[in-house]
Symmetry: C2
């Protein structure tokens, strides 16, 4: 399928408005690049002051080019750029790439106004705009370089399986340069700029339709197009093209810098994290990580597990690789006894046949050792991936043979990474197309990312599509506790049985109706959230009289604090094994999310929570709970019975589905939710719901 | 001062036992290296089968060389190596470097026996041995290459300010190669092997006496020489030579691999961590980190704080550098209003004058911008270090000028790191001796390490020397609770007031004597540690009768569980704001340590503790407490008063001093220690002490 935006990747013709004879100018570079990099379509320089530009016939205005170009590349400043877009729109040009700056990125109202005007011209006519303030798009399979990055001169392009799509020009150029210096071909290197119309994510979705693409790198600073990100995730999985994303502005200062630069994220960062995880996109935190695993992604492996086997001719590298594997969360594979026996056949007596496998300096007398050991490891069903570390191999070693043996092993399907610091030793491995790193920790980290990313992609197919709904419109209000618990129960969260009464004197009857040993009496109000801090909660009332007295004290406390009570809530005094929380809110970008975490007194001071997009699955909730600090005690420690985590999970899943569908609730906080013994449930005993009705 | 081991670095003469004519053999390479790398002392090849070796006169045996050599370098295998050591010892040779293998590293008893025999010969005569199983020592200021690393051929040496001292030959060669490829001179590259006599740490201490050394890298797998590590720390600080250490075997599998390889650490890993921190050595976790900050250490800066200013011509790099700074714990500097004003003078209107400073593409028209901006930032007292990021700078930029301006700024004393991915743009910065990284996260991480390490070194001078005492000899036993509390009180830890009685019927009188509202009654025994799990603790007895009844129930519970009670402990029922723990033990390598942490039910299941070497200072304990997860609540949250952290700290300091001096106590566990309100103290209410008497 050809994506509508593919016209930016393979235009039949390009007009360059503001074409320059100077091949170093912004209006000159694209002409030179298209000529040098083999663009086969028609190119129309537009420059009212010249008859020819760089040897090509020039046209005084866009309207005078002989055919309607597919793309107008715009290099004229400010108002002239707006005018050019208007003209292109009138002519029926399909796409414009606006390199000119002076728009919203200035942070000034006049810039924003110009951008809005430009956009209005384009929208009316169906013209799609990339930019403004764009470094431009570069497509090296077609030679359509609609941009001015200087790096294409310094690091000449080669078409290849990688796409780099970035909102920042610099962050398109930097990974492009790093990959090219590593000899990796890059098909797309796009710096989109202000994303006034076409977003970086939309262009990425278009690139993912390219059947020859193997890996897509994405740099974003503002995330305002979650639908396209969902689409990217779907295409990534369908077409088996992993997507690695770097989203700048994680830190508070980074986020401020991003706000001053292109426009900040309006979203809580960990909602973005949960979103990317849900759709199968791998998030990295630096340029280093963005490019680190590239060579792994370009292999033809279909990895399943993550158990690592390590082989080296150095004991120290074995030790450090094992340390690195633990850091990266890769378990060391336990080898079968038959594997051990086969290793003993090929290795000298003093070598280690447990994992890590230290072949020792015996390698010097038998250059075939790696070729013997690797297939033995690969045949062990417990081994999912291998690391081969060769810290030193000078003269006397048959390095070419090592590389041949390694390449043959990797071609058999088991992921293999190399840790080879010496460039001359690394060269034959690199030439064989293998992923080679300077040392073991980098190799292990890249392998761990690759394996985890493939697992995440495989899993994403079974996860629900994020709701992304904007939530109810209208101003939400806080419901009182009785209403909150009732609403929560409707949403599928089990709540404590309770009696709601209007006056203190009715509390004694409520006690009797509940027919339990002890009750809690609370003042019901929508005015405060930490009720117990104000004396509005009385625990452990053991008789109707005590309950009545408690209600009177609560009424006094409310009066002292000026809190309006709308009644009293009387509920059985339950004792759970653990206090936990369930929460929900609506993220301005990603829609409804739910939260699970530890409850209790320090829920705010010592937060221990995880966020999930709504709707979510039971598996996801279980995994989120396992990520909590409190997870180890939920199964029961020091003789305590296991808690009913399943009931908690069920309540969260139901709440997430209700949030995804709700037309009134904009958030809730159920705290504490008491976890009873396994099989006996989880019960929300206190809650605040925010809703529009 | 010349260190006694300096004979290994500048021997007047070297005999090579097992000298080979083949320059690729282990007995041949050192001869060739000493010739090629300018060793000026006398070299005596020893080979009974040849008259000349590599053109030099050869001697049939060590005894026949014309003078007693300073060093015997031994390349003959097994028993012959032992014989050579014995001969060298008899002759009065000062040092032997034994490259031969077949000793303890084989894991076989005959290897260990051979090594012991070799050692006995040497010790008797005062001969110091490096090795066996050593790749050898290389000293490039003297040309004394007493080793066979193949890497010296492939990466030719250059004398310089860095020492690499490693127990592993590979881990001497790998950093050597990486540094040499970065153009950094290396003076010492030692791979010590089995450390039967001279340890890697001892050699490191010798190297630190070298006045021209600027940085020392250490790789260890077994840490059995803490005295030398303390000495390294002292010399490092006295001579201002930072020491960066990589200690393999952090993970359980890495530790197993290290055990099979050279001998495992017998110590808990975080005790090692605390030790290295105490003595001012920086610990890294990979080869990547080991070499990452080298160029920073070789600068002439005297950094103080860690507030970072970021400058770039790319907004995205500003954003990513700010993110990286937060990851690395470097605060972004707040600029003074005068700094902002001065930046506004030099930068165009649309540039950002807050930190990070985005000079924008205006750099293209003013190549002096960095040279104007950096000094303004450096003059701001809030700025401690700078990062300059130049993601793209092709033709049209005066890169040479950027580098000159940056070098001038760095020379003025403010630490500066560069993030410059393009090799041709980076080149002039590298040539100017500046630390250049491929991207901002690597630059920030290296800077953070460098700054934190310098702070750690500055601070280490004021910290007490670790006791390193082995602790009492004799088999320790568990004291019962009464004895434990008494012993703890002697050590300076405040304990709960208590009455100790022998029989249940005395408990009522004890209640009366204590004259408090409520008491705790406990069965006293040295047989169990979790007494409450067995029903041996009764809380909240409000009368003499209740206390008596509780004592009877405890007696029954003890009988049911077969626990022998030696009496009853009656103590006031105290309520603290928080339950914490104080612990102590004696590490087999590093001696007495103390532990602080969160107390309560989940002290084992959800550990939240920190370890300190004894004796320790109040500052250290405060810092350790601040590192705990519970730290934020100790100051009081949700209306709770602040807890008496100072009293906790004081108790820990006293206990650490007592542990360092104790001749009987081998450990204790005070849990819980109740923290009362600030000013009211901290009180241990339960404790187990392990002691020899």
């Amino acid at each position: 399928m050809v994506h509508p935006l593919d016209v930016f990747h393979r235009p039949a013709s390009v007009a360059v408005v503001g074409a320059s004879d100077d091949t170093e100018k912004i209006g000159g570079r694209p002409l030179r690049y298209m000529r040098e990099f083999g663009y086969a379509g028609r190119v129309y320089p537009v420059n009212p002051r010249r008859d020819t530009v760089q040897g090509m016939q020039s046209y005084p205005s866009l309207t005078e080019v002989p055919t309607v170009p597919d793309i107008a590349l715009i290099a004229v400043p400010g108002a002239a750029a707006v005018e050019a877009v208007a003209t292109a729109a009138r002519m029926g040009v399909k796409g414009a790439v606006v390199m000119s700056s002076g728009f919203t990125e200035t942070g000034r109202p006049e810039g924003a106004a110009l951008q809005a005007e430009m956009l209005a011209h384009a929208r009316d006519a169906g013209l799609r705009i990339v930019g403004p303030n764009s470094q431009g798009l570069a497509s090296f399979h077609s030679g359509a370089v609609l941009g001015f990055s200087t790096l294409f001169t310094e690091e000449p392009p080669a078409d290849g399986p990688v796409a780099i799509i970035s909102q920042s020009g610099a962050l398109a150029s930097v990974p492009y340069g790093i990959l090219r210096r590593r000899g990796i071909g890059v098909r797309y290197a796009h710096g989109t700029g202000n994303d006034a119309d076409v977003s970086a994510a939309e262009l990425a979705a278009a690139a993912l339709e390219d059947p020859e693409l193997r890996l897509l790198m994405l740099y974003l600073e503002s995330v305002n197009d979650p639908e396209s990100l969902v689409r990217i995730g779907e295409l990534s999985r369908r077409n088996d093209v992993p997507v690695v994303a770097l989203v700048g502005g994680r830190s508070s200062s980074g986020s401020r810098a991003a706000a001053s630069h292109t426009g900040a994220l309006a979203t809580e960062r960990r909602v973005l994290d949960a979103f990317l995880e849900r759709v199968g996109i791998w998030q990295v935190h630096s340029v280093r990580e963005l490019v680190a695993a590239t060579e792994l992604y370009l292999q033809d492996w279909q990895p399943t597990g993550s158990n690592l086997a390590v082989v080296s001719n150095s004991g120290a590298v074995c030790v450090l690789a094992a340390d690195a594997a633990e850091d990266a969360g890769l378990p060391l594979a336990s080898l079968l006894p038959t594997t051990d026996a086969r290793l003993k056949e090929v290795l000298p007596d003093f070598a280690s046949t447990t994992n890590p496998v230290d072949v020792t300096a015996a390698l010097l007398t038998d250059s075939g050792l790696f070729g013997k050991v690797l297939p033995v490891l690969g045949a062990d069903p417990g081994v999912d991936a291998c690391l081969l570390g060769i810290p030193v191999a000078g003269r006397g070693y048959d390095v070419e043979r090592f590389a041949r043996d390694a390449a043959e092993f990797a071609a058999s399907g088991t992921p293999l990474v190399l840790a080879v610091p010496q460039p001359n030793v690394a060269a034959p491995f690199v030439d064989a197309g293998l992923p080679v790193f300077e040392e073991e920790s980098s190799a292990v980290a890249a392998l761990a990312q690759y394996l985890a990313h493939r697992r995440r992609m495989a899993r994403a197919d079974s996860l629900p599509r994020p709701a992304l709904t904007a939530g109810p419109s209208g101003a939400p209000g806080r419901l009182n506790e009785a209403e909150s618990l009732a609403r929560l129960a409707e949403m599928g969260v089990p709540t404590v049985p309770r009696e709601i009464v209007s006056f203190p004197e009715d509390v004694a009857d409520a006690f009797t109706r509940l027919a339990v040993d002890r009750v809690v009496v609370k003042g019901s109000t929508d005015a405060v959230s930490h009720k117990s801090d104000l004396g509005l909660v009385e625990l452990g009332c053991a008789s109707a009289e005590e309950a009545l007295a408690a209600a009177h004290r609560i009424a006094v406390a409310a009066a002292l604090h000026g809190v309006v009570l709308d009644g009293f809530l009387v509920a059985p005094m339950l004792r759970g094994l653990h206090e936990v929380v369930i929460g929900a809110s609506i993220d301005p970008v990603f829609g409804p999310v739910v939260l699970v975490g530890a409850g209790g007194l320090y829920v705010e001071a010592l937060p221990d929570t995880a966020v999930l997009l709504a709707p979510c699955t039971a598996d996801e909730v279980h995994e989120a709970i396992q990520s909590l600090r409190i997870a180890p005690v939920l199964g029961g420690v020091r003789g305590a019975p296991p808690a009913d985590v399943d009931a908690w999970v069920k309540a969260v899943v139901r709440a997430s589905e209700a949030m995804a569908a709700s037309e009134t609730v904009v958030g809730f906080d159920a705290n504490p939710v008491l976890l009873l013994e396994a099989g006996q449930g989880a019960v929300a005993v206190d809650a605040v719901v925010l809703a529009t009705t």
